[in-house]
Structures are given as C-alpha cells and as structure tokens.
C-alpha cells in the first residue's frame, strides 16, 4: 500500500471511532494493520508522520492519552490554518 493511501486509511479508522471510542496509538496500529494487511511498523511510521504534521494529534482526558483528529481551534493555535 502506498504511504498516502495508508495515511488515508489511518485517518478513516480514527474518524470512524470519533465520539465512540478513545483510541490509543496501539489500537490504531493493531486495527489498521489487521484491516489493511500492512505491517505494524509501517502503520506506526505513517501514524507518527501524521502526528508530526498535525493531521492527527495526541489528546489527554480522564487520565489517559489517546490519538484524535485535531480540532480547528488546535490547528489555528499551531498556525496550520488561518
């Protein structure tokens, strides 16, 4: 799978869980790896790249960390959108 396609698959996976389940990084790696038949390390690398550029973000609530789709407010604060 091409990297961009993999990133879109990861994004869709996170989007699907939005509002239903807080996903740990590992949940995403395991889930996408199983769904898409891609090596876990590859998923991990792609996921990290997405976090580094703000396409996904780490969040924290209820004592545990999760990975989420950033809000507009967050992207604005990081200077990614005007």
């Amino acid at each position: 799978m091409e990297k961009e396609e993999l990133k879109n698959t990861i994004f869709a996976f996170v989007e699907k869980a939005k509002g239903k389940k807080k996903l740990k990084e590992k949940d995403i790696i395991k889930g996408v790896s199983a769904d898409a038949g891609v090596e876990k390390d590859e998923v991990k690398k792609a996921l990290r790249e997405m976090i580094d550029v703000g396409r996904l973000m780490y969040s924290y609530g209820g004592g545990a960390s999760s990975v989420e789709i950033p809000s507009e407010e967050y992207l604005r604060e990081k200077g990614m959108i005007k």
Partner: protein, 391 residues
Amino acid sequence: MKKYDTPLLDELEKGPWPSFVTEIKKAAQKHEAAADELGQLEKSYKTKRGYWKHGGIVGVLGYGGGVIGRYSNLPDEFPGVAHFHTVRINQPSGFYYKSDSLREILDLWDKYGSGLTNMHGSTGDMVMLGCKTEALEPFFAEISSRGWDLGGSGSALRTPSCCMGASKCEWSNIDTMNLANTLTQAYQDELHRPMWPYKFKFKIAGCAVDCVASIARADCSIIGTWRGDIQIDQGEVENYAKQGMDIKAEIVDMCPTGCMSYESKLEINNAECSRCMHCIAKMTKALGPGPEKGASILIGSKAPIVVGSLLSWVVVPFMKMEPPYEEFKDLADKMIEWWDDNAKPRERIGELIEAKGMRPFLEAIGVEAQPQQVYEPRKDPFFFWKDEDLG
C-alpha cells in the same frame, strides 16, 4: 503592586519557614498570572472549592506529553490564569545544574510563563507552572534550541530519575546517572509519544537506602546491590564501640534477617543477609558493600491515584549493570510489552500482576521463579502447577 487582598494566604507567611505565598507574591510583582493565581487560591480558601480544570488538548506539535493542560473555571474573574498549563522539563540525571543553565531556563520562563516553578515535581522533572496556550510553542522552541527537552506525561514513560549515585555517594553500587541518562536517550519515543495503557516509571537508586524512594513510586525500580560478603574492618567496628555506639542494640538487633552477632567482633552470616544497607549506613567506616556490584530489578509500585498504593517486589535479585545495559533494556522491553498487551486503560503494571498473578508475568519475560520474588511469605494456602512442572 497588589491586586488582591489575601488575608487567609497571609497567615501562611507567618512563622520561621519559607512560604510559597511569599514566593508567589514576589512573582506577582512581574506576572499577572502569578497575581491571579493568588487571587484564585484565596477564593478557594474562602469557599473551600477548587477552580481548576485539568486535561484537554494542549501540547507542542509532535509531542503527546510534557505539557499538562490546566484551565481556570473562573477565567473572567481571574484572566491571568485562564490558561495555566504546566510544562515539564526533563531534568539532568541526579539534578545537577550549572547556575547559568538554571538562570537561562528561568529567564526564559519569566519571558514566556508565570515565573513560578516547582523544583522538582515528584517524578523529577523541572516543573514550570503557568503557561498560556499560545506561549507553549515559542517556549518549547527556545528551550529545545538550547538542549533542553520536555519530560513525560500522560500514558507514556515518565522521565527516568535517579539518585546522585557514585558522583557523590560512597554507597552507590551502580552508576545511576549514566543509567538514567542512557534510558532517557533510549526511550525518547516512549517518553514523548504516549502509547501505553497508562504511565510507566523507571527510578534508579544506587543502593537499598533508596533516596529516590523507587520502591514506593516506580513501576520499575532499579536498586544497586552487591554479591558476595559485606566488607568488614574490625578495627573500625571497635572504634564505633569505643565512641559509644551500642552495636548490639543499634546494629545487630535491627538487622531484619538477624544475620549478625557481636561479641568481641562483628560476625555476619552473609547467606542470610538481605542487603538492606542498615548496618552499612550506620557504620560507614567499618562496613562496605561486597565486591561484585549490580542491581536488583523490582516491579510494580505505584501511588494511590486510581486504586490503592503498592510497593515494588523483586523480579531479578541481581543483574550486572554496565553500559550499554542491553540485558536490562531487553528485560524492560519484555515487561512493558506484556503489560501493554494485557492491561486495561489506566491499569499500572503492578495492578496487572496482582490481577493475573506473578507466574504469567515471569513466563512472559522469561525469568525463572526464585525465592527472592516471594512478596508475602506463607500467605497463600493454594498451590498451582502445570503438568510440565511435574516433569
């Protein structure tokens, strides 16, 4: 410039001790955030209610930890603390700073934050208290360009911490500072990108005196120890006795395993010694650790945040601890992997071992069962075995 009357907080400035109120008042001369912190705290004292909200989405790009989101519930009344985030900065091993390094970081904190700090948080990080959301990225850019980095927070590895070890202490059996630094470098990813069910802490003590209280606070405690006999200088033992030490009462009778006796000279049955350091710490000139140095690896302690507190218990009684520490890192990776695969959200490794039992944990990490791992002797009347154990 006084912004609020704080009669209740002023009470805490009385008496001979340093006062946090005095320090916050000093910071309030320069920072609105510190002034409003005082105002909100006085209100809390009056109403007996807290006004902080915790968590949410604050941090620096690419990092999942190191910043703890903190907002005031009363932003209109106390605008200076509307955002009052905590920034954790990874401390150097053993808390060694040059004075100009400290000045550098504190000047930056005056520029971007409230000017208030905790030196240090209980995990060990330098804790910068009170940063606005918009100041996080510029502050981080400044400190990282000068070689500083954020510490851990959230469901991540927390900043490894250690005692001063051999740099200043004659009892240290391992190079705690080198090990803490090595682990910090090796686990950068796990420190900054929270990927686990909950927090995980390494704490490293050079000996069983355990100045970092690792046995009560760290998921994985690395405690310096030795193999072989305690070194005895009988001449110095005699000197202690001459100087008035009651060796029987203060040393022999205090030995937890009763492995010592004292008539004309001090005798130690080293096979029974649990290396607790009591005798060595009391008779530093007369006694010393044995010649072969290493560490005991313990697992599972935690403070009572989610459920009750636990103390660590021994997994590996003795392991050599020499750079590059591959044997230890290999063991740590196995321990973390088992915990990560099996734990519920917000479940620490000690709780998981309590729930599942020590046996599956030991099997997963490939460590043989040993008597030193017994946590509470003669407590469990049940005995479990597998067919292959009957061999």
